[in-house]
């Protein structure tokens, strides 16, 4: 993130700003927004039968003849050097094929760091991978052992004797704050944004709140462990079955690292057992690929759960200051959101907790800036709604505090300060209906039953409270998404791209989409995915996969139409019509103005004597992002109980009311919203990666000691949506994978306050804070 990047983005934004909206992608709303068939239907997942019967194959389940297994050794030291390695016992252990340390590991470069400038880059850390004797963080891989069975590899790994010379390490957040860096950019925005003099406005405001909020280290904890099954074919062809949310970029990165032709590297990942941002490229894939080449055999490396905690970074902790000033009418005169999160110099993923706040409220003055604290830790990375998940906890708690202080209903205070245009850039919203989301949600939830005074409702030993908060997440569409589209003479079609399925229902929703786009029944569509040999889809991140692929399908359908019209020629009822004059419907092409002029795909291909026709196309560049402020928003409601005896919190009801553009598959969308909200419930009440600041070591690398919500923690969750399509996006959709988690932390904290009168500003809200 550099000043240069800031300059480029702002100049593109300025240039685009002059272009009339209708010239841009999305300038003319996608016709499918109003012409709906399969899209919008309540459809079950196409991969359902495979998943419920256990036949869906994940990365560690690919059977290969002659497979050997690897196990990793981690540094128990945080900073220092390896001074000695005794691998003799490990090498002599039964079944051992090879012990790999920095001495024997081939020289490889680390993958290029993820950045806004290179969407194909996948690296989470620039640290060398088994290249030298230096230890940078506790848990770093220091060796790998390859053996005939997993049991043998694990045992031999425990026999390695490694000596270290320890050095001082920065492990304490509080101590490292003074040396924190202030970067020029924060993802796609300037880091330090000032409008007016927010401190002065705050000081003279009629009402104000000025508090510090803290959130802890968190881990993704996808239930599937990270795993790769690697097979070399000779020394120049590589196949990697990976659990990754970035198939095509991973293949490109591995080709670069191992000096192979891009087409000679194939990464397969048809099913991913949960990602949430954690299933990117980390050290283990590179170690496994190198190890397989060294031993000349196919190899599997499945991380242990402990290894996942040690070498896959999670969400950074944050310390956030939120200050809001309001005039006597409750209009914000000042909004300040600043603070610290951890990002080591070798990392790539800032926890951008102030970004969402920049679009949430109108105010007379603003100040936003974030500082990165450098600690010796595994590089933190993006985790579901990076930034917003914890940023909304801080700002939406502060709004609740202000509302309480003013004696105003917290929904009313929010609605008074909704922005008409983007508050900082003054760009128009493509669509924004948070007010409606609040009004609909409050009605369904029964918000009027909330008692304004904390602690007023009780049921036996339980105090009952209600809270609400706003959530938000920006729209994104990734550049460069491509699909292949094949139309066959038998009336079937196949859409192909390298995308991944990790529970979002990618294939299901794109089959629905392609059916409507091509004018075919859903049964006629097949969707191929999960293979870097297919046209490249971008990574699954930023809640962007669905619209990115949809954009590519739009482009491919257009190209296909052009090709088919050419094949149809002059003997067709379509003769003389151009691509812009027709649409695809009734399993063929029809004139947009005269539906009687129609010819079926079968007929066109038969007459042309073609079995099939294939096109490939990439979506248009996502320029709509620069022309419009495109944000999804939500109103989150919570009702809970707090035990007067023990401080235990039980969430009884959660309701999310979303304004996220068009909903493409209500059944799967509801599941995604709920899933995000449940992760938010964990964020609010139970989740913390215990990082021991004395040693720099993660102390709870188990699912028994890191508490993600269990069934009994999860109430019935209601979700609803405005369903208003975004006129500037493919299908009118805006992405829904991440917004569910945003706002939940604050809604729960605010409900806890309403129940007990206790304001908890440090997550998680464990019972000891409420005793």
């Amino acid at each position: 993130m550099s000043n240069l990047q800031n300059m480029i983005i702002s100049s593109v934004r300025t240039a685009i700003g002059w272009v009339p909206g209708q010239w841009l992608p999305g300038g003319k709303p996608d016709p499918l927004i109003t012409r709906r068939g399969a899209v919008g239907r309540q459809a079950s997942r196409l991969d359902g039968p495979a998943k419920v019967t256990g036949t869906a194959r994940f990365a560690a389940e690919v059977a290969i003849e002659g497979l050997c297994y690897a196990s990793l050794v981690h540094s128990p030291v945080t900073r220092g050097r390896i001074t000695g390695i005794d691998s003799s016992a490990a090498e002599r252990a039964p079944g051992v094929v090879r012990v790999i340390t920095h001495r024997s590991m081939p020289r490889v470069a680390s993958p290029a760091l993820m950045s806004m400038a290179d969407m194909g880059a996948v690296g989470n850390s620039s640290l060398p991978i088994l290249q030298d004797d230096e230890i940078h963080y506790n848990g770093q891989i220091v060796a790998a052992v390859v053996a005939e069975t997993q049991e043998q590899a694990d045992h031999a790994a425990s026999l390695l004797r490694i000596d270290y010379a320890e050095a001082n390490a920065a492990t304490r957040f509080e101590d490292a704050k003074s040396a924190a860096r202030t970067m020029p950019s924060l993802l796609f925005d300037t880091n330090h944004r000032k409008v007016g003099d927010a401190e002065r406005e705050l000081a003279r405001s009629a009402h104000r709140v000025d508090e510090t909020y803290r959130t802890p280290w968190q881990s993704h904890n996808a239930i599937e462990l990270h795993a790769v099954t690697v097979a070399w074919d000779g020394d120049d062809r590589l196949t990697v079955h990976d659990a990754t949310q970035m198939i095509a970029p991973s293949a490109a990165a591995l080709a670069r690292i191992f000096d192979l032709k891009r087409d000679n590297v194939r990464v397969l990942s048809p099913f991913v057992g949960g990602g949430f941002g954690g299933k990117g490229m980390w050290d283990h894939q590179i170690v496994a690929v190198a190890a397989a080449r060294m031993v000349g055999r196919p190899l599997r490396l499945m991380l242990s759960r402990e290894s996942v905690y040690r070498i896959i970074g999670g969400r950074s902790p944050t310390e956030q200051r939120v200050a809001i000033g309001a005039d006597a009418d409750g209009r914000f005169t000042s909004l300040i959101h600043t603070g610290y999160s951890v990002m080591p110099g070798y990392g790539a993923s800032p926890e951008a907790f102030t970004l969402g706040t920049r679009a949430l409220y109108q105010a007379k003055s603003f100040e936003f800036v974030q500082r990165h604290v450098e600690l010796a830790v595994v590089a933190n990375t993006f985790m579901r709604a990076p930034g917003e998940a914890v940023g909304t906890f801080a700002v939406e708690s502060a709004v609740d505090e202000l509302a309480h202080g003013m004696g105003v209903d917290p929904i009313e205070l929010r609605l008074r300060n909704l922005p008409e245009r983007h508050p900082i850039t003054n760009v128009a919203f493509s669509q924004h209906a948070l007010r409606q989301a609040y009004e609909d949600g409050a009605r369904r939830f029964g918000w009027e039953r909330r008692q304004r005074e904390p602690g007023a409702r009780r049921d036996g030993e339980w105090r009952i409270g209600m809270g609400c908060a706003s959530g938000s997440f920006p729209y994104a569409r990734m550049p460069g998404a491509a699909v292949g589209l094949t139309m066959r003479r038998d009336g079937t079609a196949t859409v192909a791209c390298s995308a991944q399925e990790m529970g979002m229902g990618t294939s299901t929703v794109q089959v629905q989409h392609a059916a409507d786009r091509l004018g075919l029944p859903v049964e006629a569509i097949a969707f191929e995915m999960g293979d870097s040999g297919l046209p490249a889809a971008p990574m699954a991140g930023g809640s962007s996969q669905t619209v990115s692929i949809a954009g590519a399908i739009i482009a491919a359908a257009e190209k296909l139409t052009t090709e088919l019209l050419r094949l149809a020629g002059n003997d067709s009822p379509l003769a003389g019509l151009r691509t812009g004059d027709v649409r695809l419907e009734r399993e063929g092409i029809a004139s947009a103005t005269d539906p009687s002029r129609h010819e079926s795909f079968r007929s066109i291909l038969s007459r042309a004597n073609r079995d099939e026709i294939t096109v490939q196309a990439a979506g248009t560049p996502p320029l709509e992002l620069f022309k419009y402020a495109m944000h999804s928003t939500s109103a989150m409601f919570c009702e809970l109980r707090v035990s007067d005896v023990t401080g235990e919190v039980r969430v009884d009801r959660l309701l999310g009311s979303f304004d996220c553009g068009a909903i493409l598959n209500p059944k799967m969308a509801a599941s995604q919203f709920r899933g995000g909200m449940i992760m938010g419930l964990g964020l609010a009440l139970t989740e913390e990666t215990l990082f021991d600041e004395r040693s720099g070591r993660i102390m709870n690398p188990t699912l028994a000691d890191y508490h993600i919500p269990a069934h009994l923690d999860v109430p019935e969750i209601e979700v609803m949506w405005t369903g208003i399509p975004d006129p500037r996006s493919p299908l009118g959709a805006r992405g829904i994978g991440e917004i569910g988690i945003t706002g939940v932390g604050a809604a729960i904290a605010n409900a806890v306050f309403n129940a007990t009168g206790k304001r908890v500003r440090d997550l998680p809200i464990t019972l000891d804070r409420l005793l």
Partner: protein, 168 residues
């Protein structure tokens, strides 16, 4: 002796370290049973041993010699779904699908436990005959199966539907 896996006899492994989970996945290629933690903390590896739900990651394969093991592959197939499998699809009781086999195996045994009158921590009256099925009874009894995608509502709805149909 032999281990009977989904009706087929298989020999126990030579290495006593091999867990039932690794036997199923790596040796028998029955990879429907999932490995989520290998720590006994997530339930993804749940299988049925002599009809009871257990964690295959903490069970040595040697311990089930002479016993009968049923995995997700033994419950039903795409052409012949077990009622719980069908209900999970209907109620969208999964997203990524990784904890699903464990959830379904656990639910299968759980319905038997309820039918047998076994109480849970949330059962009000431990002395009562018969268990009144409720969402909280299902939630408590299924809490040993973690799900990170957040399909809990769908899972509980699916189980409740099958439980209700069973009673009806």
């Amino acid at each position: 002796m032999a281990i009977v896996v989904n009706g087929t006899r298989v020999a126990p492994p030579d290495d006593p370290r091999v867990s039932l989970l690794d036997l199923l996945r790596d040796r028998l290629h029955l990879s429907g049973t999932k490995i989520g933690c290998n720590q006994g903390a997530c339930g993804a590896c749940t299988v049925l041993v002599d009809g009871k739900r257990v964690l295959s990651c903490l069970t040595l394969a040697a311990q089930v010699d002479g016993r009968s093991v049923v995995t997700i592959e033994g419950l039903g197939s795409a052409d012949d779904l077990h009622p719980l499998q069908a209900a999970f699809i209907e109620h969208d009781g999964f997203q990524c699908g990784y904890c699903t086999a464990g959830q379904i195996c656990a639910a299968t045994a759980m319905l038997e436990e309820i039918a047998a009158g076994m109480p849970s921590y949330v059962t009000e009256d431990l002395g009562a005959d018969g268990i009144a099925i409720s969402r909280d009874e299902i939630r408590e009894r299924m809490s040993g199966n973690l799900c990170r995608c957040g399909a809990h509502n769908g899972i509980v709805d699916a189980i409740l539907q099958v439980a209700t149909e069973k009673v009806a």
